[in-house]
């Protein structure tokens, strides 16, 4: 189907520890976007990955797109309390429309 699966569903880390969330699809993805949603907030765009094997960095965040374009990951180095929230990956519609199909999300809790 259209859904992308994310693991883990929840993650609790001590502040300063690293965190990784994984996004998997049974079909090849044309692109993947990552969004962050703070508790009580709305999704905010982080990054888009398009190319096979692509790696992008934003400060402590590293995003990867698998070689087969069926999986992606988001890694946060040395988490901070400001990283708290739910991280979603989202795939684009294959047929050219712009709507997104969101993954199940990983909810990150950072313990100070």
């Amino acid at each position: 189907g259209q859904q992308v699966m994310q693991i883990p569903q929840y993650q609790h880390v001590q502040e300063g520890e690293d965190f990784t969330t994984y996004c998997n699809s049974s079909t090849t993805l044309s692109n993947i976007q990552w969004y962050k949603q703070r508790p009580g907030g709305h999704p905010v765009f982080l990054i888009q990955l398009v190319k096979s094997g692509e790696v992008k960095k934003q400060k402590r965040l590293t995003f990867q797109f698998g070689e087969a374009k069926k999986n992606s990951s988001l890694h946060i180095t040395a988490t901070q309390t400001t990283d708290v929230g739910t991280y979603f990956c989202a795939r684009g519609q294959q047929t050219g429309a712009n709507n997104l199909f969101f993954g199940t999300g990983t909810r990150l809790t950072v313990i100070p």
Binding site: N31, P43, V44, V50, G92, N99, L100, T104
Partner: protein, 119 residues
Amino acid sequence: GAGVSQTPSNKVTEKGKYVELRCDPISGHTALYWYRQSLGQGPEFLIYFQGTGAADDSGLPNDRFFAVRPEGSVSTLKIQRTERGDSAVYLCASSSPRAGGQSSYNEQFFGPGTRLTVL
């Protein structure tokens, strides 16, 4: 500049009633999307407008749901004969015209959502 705005922020209604949810996209954004998010879930696509027309309404769950965007800016999501299962946060997002070729999509800017509760 102003982001995406949605009104009302909260709507409580009774089963069987009709509701309208409004979305004001970012000025100049031709694409507008409606999603619905239930507690603990990711946003679920409902409908996508490119300009005034619904380019993809395949996510609307049934014919009680309808959305319009008559002038290519503000959009209204309409739900008839509401049911308790319609309770969720309804999110609107907008994006600028696509750039970067076939395989890339512009980022979507989300509004704060309307929390709909059907009693």
